[in-house]
């Protein structure tokens, strides 16, 4: 019986979709557009979080410059103290010689390295902080240490880090807000499409009620039509995004080279899931709300 009811609903939904082709197409296209926007939103969010993760790794590491002439024991003590701090995940001591070697090894510094005489570089403690939020506190701690180089204590740029944190928070909120707006708009579109379908089948609905159809039996075809609309739109949107993703990333990398955006095909799989499930849910919800009033027995 469930199978027969499902077959009836699928048949009706399919017929209704084609009978109101103009409206159905308009709905599919609008929702495709919305899902493309939602997909772009997710992709940009993903890319940004990747870039941000890179930055995070960089800025959560600070170098504490050691003043020349600081006793080695004092450096080791401070290194121990930092290593014991739960906020710190790793501390490494770089001697003056190692620092110079590192500096010379960097191909960017070739010209500069030739002009260096002696070793002007400080020895340093490279501190990796577990949470980005704690970097400022560790920096303060380091600046109070007696062995720190007073002219250039650390490489910590609090302003920059704070701005990054703020920006990522705002972008997150904006992304969620945009997504919410897109969801509401697409539900409204499906709702109105389904209302048209209901209008075309109002006589059938009336007869269904009179001969004792259940509310779900009346509603079923419309909900399925909504899901169909959502799934078709999601497939279109997905196809467009898959086609555009790699060229867009390459174009972006060519234009804005300093942001290390990467092409991540694995994310496409999760995006496909999100769009298809999202499209189906939006369709179901929109049509459920759209017919609710009309199927009341």
């Amino acid at each position: 019986m469930i199978y027969r009811n499902l077959r009836f609903a699928l048949n009706s939904a399919w017929q209704s979709f084609w009978r109101n082709l103009a409206v159905s197409t308009a709905a599919v296209l609008s929702i495709t557009l919305i899902l493309v926007l939602a997909g772009i939103n997710l992709l940009v969010g993903h890319a940004f979080s990747q870039v941000l993760d890179g930055f995070r790794a960089k800025v959560s590491e600070i170098s504490v410059n050691v003043a020349d002439g600081t006793p080695l024991q004092s450096v080791y003590d401070f290194q121990q103290q930092l290593a014991a701090d739960p906020r710190v995940s790793n501390v490494q001591f770089i001697t003056k010689d190692q620092a110079l070697a590192q500096f010379k090894a960097d191909p960017n510094n070739v010209v500069l390295a030739q002009q260096i005489s002696g070793n002007p570089l400080d020895a340093k403690l490279e501190v990796r902080v577990a949470k980005l939020d704690d970097v400022a506190a560790i920096d303060t701690l380091a600046r109070r240490w007696s062995g720190v180089d007073p002219t250039d204590p650390t490489n910590y740029q609090g302003d920059f880090v704070n701005r990054m944190l703020q920006l990522s928070a705002w972008l997150g909120i904006a992304g969620v807000g945009l997504l919410a707006i897109l969801v509401v708009v697409s539900i409204v579109i499906v709702m109105n499409t389904i209302r048209t379908a209901v209008y075309h089948r109002r006589k059938e609905i009336e007869v269904m009620k009179l001969v004792g159809a259940t509310e779900w039996f009346v509603r079923g075809p419309f909900v399925i039509e909504g899901v169909m609309t959502g799934l078709i739109a999601a497939s279109f949107a997905l196809a467009l995004l898959v086609l555009a993703y790699q060229p867009a990333v390459e174009r972006f990398r060519a234009d804005v080279a300093f942001i290390p955006l990467s092409y991540d095909p694995a994310f496409m799989v999760s995006l496909a899931q999100d769009l298809l499930i999202g499209g189906a849910l939006l369709g179901a919800l929109g049509s459920y709300i759209g017919v609710r009033r009309y199927v009341r027995i």
Binding site: M1, I2, F8, K209, G212, I297
Partner: protein, 236 residues
């Protein structure tokens, strides 16, 4: 058995369509509801099929109070009653067979069961062989027969009809009425709102006259008008 106990119906517009209606319809009865346009006949029918709820009072069908019936019980109840309307309410894009089968299809019945029940119902109304015709190609009387077949296909205990002959010429109306009598003879209770004076007067069945929302008369073997000396006043 159907019973109305002090039933009032006031629409949201303020119209008092029924006022203190008391009524008992025993099993197997054949009942005409008569009265001028706007008297409240259709309202009574709509209450009986639970399309509307009474504003006050109670309606019982087989001991169940309709006002207290849950929404999910409604489909089951609607299957117990067969409904026939003046405008047939057939689906134009479905064949005769499919129109009748529709009433079973919405309950997910099996195809072989649908086939035999539809054939039987079409046979009862004398439309065997028209299975694949569309409603538009049938006369009014034939369309109403299809609607009756659809009402019968569940083998309902109650047949409720609102002006079923209102759109038909006298000869056809008479044929349709014969059909209702046959259905009643097979045991179904029939409640019919009608304007058809000739038929009511000829059949001399139970007649309930409604006037301005109230029961004016309930005769065991009644006529369309109680007072033959001044029919024009009550006629409409």
């Amino acid at each position: 058995m159907i019973s109305f106990q002090h039933v009032f119906k006031t629409y949201s517009t303020g119209t008092e369509a029924l006022r203190d209606v008391n009524l008992v319809v025993p099993e197997g009865d054949f009942l005409f509801l008569v009265g001028p346009s706007g008297a409240g006949k259709s309202t009574l029918v709509r209450l009986l099929i639970r399309e509307e709820k009474p504003s006050k009072g109670k309606i019982f069908v087989d001991g169940v109070e309709l006002g207290r019936m849950k929404r999910r019980q409604l489909p089951g109840y609607r299957r117990k009653v067969g409904l026939v309307f003046q405008d047939f309410k057939l689906l134009p894009n479905l064949t005769i067979y499919e129109n009748v089968a529709f009433a079973l299809r919405v309950h997910g019945e099996a195809e072989n069961m649908i086939q035999s029940r539809v054939a039987e119902a079409l046979d009862t109304v004398g439309l065997s062989g028209k299975d694949n015709t569309y409603p538009a190609n049938l006369s009014g009387g034939e369309q109403q027969r299809v609607a009756i077949a659809r009402a019968l296909v569940h083998a309902p205990r109650f047949i409720i009809a609102d002006e079923p002959t209102g759109n038909l010429d006298p000869a056809t109306a008479w044929e349709i009425m014969q059909l209702f009598l046959r259905i009643n003879a097979r045991g179904a209770t029939v409640v019919m709102a009608t304007h058809n004076r000739e038929i009511v007067d000829l059949l001399r069945r139970r007649v309930i006259a409604i006037d301005a929302g109230q029961i004016a008369r309930d005769d065991r073997s009644g006529r369309y008008h109680d007072d033959l000396s001044k029919p024009q006043i009550r006629a409409q």
